[in-house]
Amino acid sequence: MGFLDIRNVTKSYGSVQVLHDVDISVAEGEFLVLVGPSGCGKSTLLNMIAGLESVTSGEIAIRGRVVNGVHPSKRNIAMVFQSYALYPNMTVAQNITFGLEMHGTPRAERERALADVAKLLQIDHLLDRKPAQLSGGQRQRVAMGRALVRDPDVFLFDEPLSNLDAKLRVDMRTEIKKLHQKLGTTIVYVTHDQIEAMTLSTRIAVMYRGHVQQLGTPREIYDTPANVFVATFMGSPAMNILPARVALRDGVPHARITDAEGAERLLRFSQPNLAGWDGRDILLGIRPEAITDPEGADRKSGNIQGLANRVSVTEPAGSDTFVTMVLSGRDVIARMRADASVGPGQDFDFAVNMDKAVAFDPQSEERIAP
């Protein structure tokens, strides 16, 4: 039993089921990120943990206590909302202590808690201001302060960074991560941004169409995505997915693909279990950073395959250069070092790190290797 247990939880509106049998157990101090495209059910799940939406079936338990039907204010949770939801008519100090006041905490204690939180978040100088007088980042801090001051069992974050500009978002991301490391709180965090999910979490639940597609550490999710959806949703640019056929050469499975000219090419797999797929179609998944210029290839990899191919587009992005080419009729993106000399129309020798390749069943789109 975990610290926060979500047991076979479903949610339906009338006959429309928006969440199917979600089963997640969160340990104390864990940072769980629910990630997925809009409409995947992640916010619904968060609201159900908060008690803002009812649970159709299943159980949610916090510290072993089933909280279905328990009023949000009695679950000992705190939530940071996307719009921050600061009370516009109250000062920062009043915003932060409102919850304590509602719970009947004596004034002296409220003051003390306020001072602690203000110091922790470095908002001491803002306490007498109204939310309208704050910048986006400051509002974000106040919203977190309001959650922290309650010293809850579980923190819920509902896309807290999506209203900030790009630079501030990165700063606040680090801030939240630091805070988590320092306080060791249990956090459930909803976002549609896969980078936020990767950087912040100790575990990620990737959600799509009301199902948890995969639950695992960021590394597991990234390296061994459970299916094509997870593979393409996590990572930017997305994992390349191209049709291939498994062919055995000397008993070793290879991926048979075609290059830009339509000529057949073979890439040796590192995963022997694909031998059973001999002669069958698969979907081959290769992350952009696994296709590089030969000098940039991962030295620790035991299986770098050379692949000459025509370059269609190059996009220098400063730190890297992205190169687009055609493989098996699909656009495939490779990630080169910034100084790799490569231009459009040129034939170039790519190095493919097949240790990192993933194979999917083309029908079910589930991962079959590794």
């Binding site: 079936s57 039907g69 009023h71 009695k74």
Partner: protein
């Protein structure tokens, strides 16, 4: 399916509290609006005269109602009044709004002047226009005193023209409001769209006809609905301006209903006329409100 979990007492109370607080308002509305409509509807099928009585007479009242010349005058008048009132208010309101939207100096002064009549009651409006249009002391006499001896303006004393006096007063009262609605609509139009149209070579006239006016469709619809329902309810203005006269020449359904119910002791017929009025308004309002509420969802 796992068993539904019992909510704690406070949560359940909180669940019911909103509905409890809303209940008195809703119950009042149900009783005083929908209950009363039902009451009047039933009454219209009875032979009630001075007081309600419940001898049912079927559609007799409706038959009598539509046989009454008095009612036919009222219907004819409401048709003239409503169509002119709506058309002129809309045209005038649109014109003033478009003109005011041309970066007019003094807009801040003009706008409230156009709009203030809306703050006055129809009784005050009626009183003002009654004397202004009165040939004995009003406009006609002023023109004579200013030397235009042949000027005549006796509409308010005329059986055929008095209804147009009501239109004038009503337009005076409401057109500024329509102007405000159109002005808000105009200000809500994205300027970039207009600039794009100009770059495409549209003249001012084409710009308004092809781009702006079509974009004001919602304002047109709202104006129509509001004006139509004001027109059908119009009672005060007729009473104050002409009292339904001369003779019965400016009688409207609203005044007809009142006089048949309360002074002529024909409550059944009065109720029938009220039902007809309600049905007319409902035919306009229900689709409109339905569409609005649905959109909102």
């Amino acid at each position: 399916m796992p068993t539904p979990v019992q909510a704690d007492l406070r949560t359940r109370l909180q669940d019911w509290l909103p509905r409890l607080v809303l209940a008195p308002s809703f119950a009042t509305t149900l009783l005083f609006v929908y209950g009363f409509i039902l009451f009047t509807l039933l009454l219209s099928f009875t032979g009630s005269r001075m007081l309600p009585n419940w001898t049912f007479v079927g559609f007799d009242n409706y038959q009598r109602l539509f046989g009454l010349q008095h009612w036919q005058i009222a219907l004819k008048n409401i048709a003239i009044f409503a169509s002119l009132y709506i058309a002129i208010c809309t045209a005038l309101g649109l014109l003033l709004a478009i003109f005011l939207d041309q970066k007019i100096r003094g807009e801040g002064v003009l706008r409230p002047i156009y709009l203030y009549p809306m703050a006055l009651s129809f009784i005050v409006t009626g009183t003002a226009w009654k004397w202004f249009l009165d040939p004995g002391i009003g406009l006609e006499r002023v023109m004579h005193l200013w030397g235009w001896e042949s000027f005549t303006f006796t509409w308010i004393k005329s059986n055929t023209m008095a209804i147009y006096c009501i239109v004038i007063a009503a337009v005076w009262q409401s057109s500024g409001f329509v102007m405000a609605m159109f002005l808000a609509g105009l200000r809500g139009i994205d300027n970039e769209v207009l600039k794009a149209a100009q770059i495409d070579g549209a003249s001012n006239w084409q710009l308004y006809r092809r781009i702006v006016i079509p974009l004001l469709r919602p304002a047109f619809l709202s104006a129509f609905v509001i004006l139509a329902h004001l027109a059908i309810k119009s009672y005060d203005l007729v009473i104050a301006l002409t009292g339904g006269g001369p003779g019965r020449s400016t009688e409207m359904p609203a005044t007809f209903m009142y006089s048949y119910t309360f002074t002529r002791n024909q409550m059944g017929v009065g109720a029938a006329s009220a039902v007809i009025m309600l049905m007319t308004i409902a035919a306009i309002m229900v689709p409109y409100l339905y569409a609005e509420l649905k959109e909102k969802k």
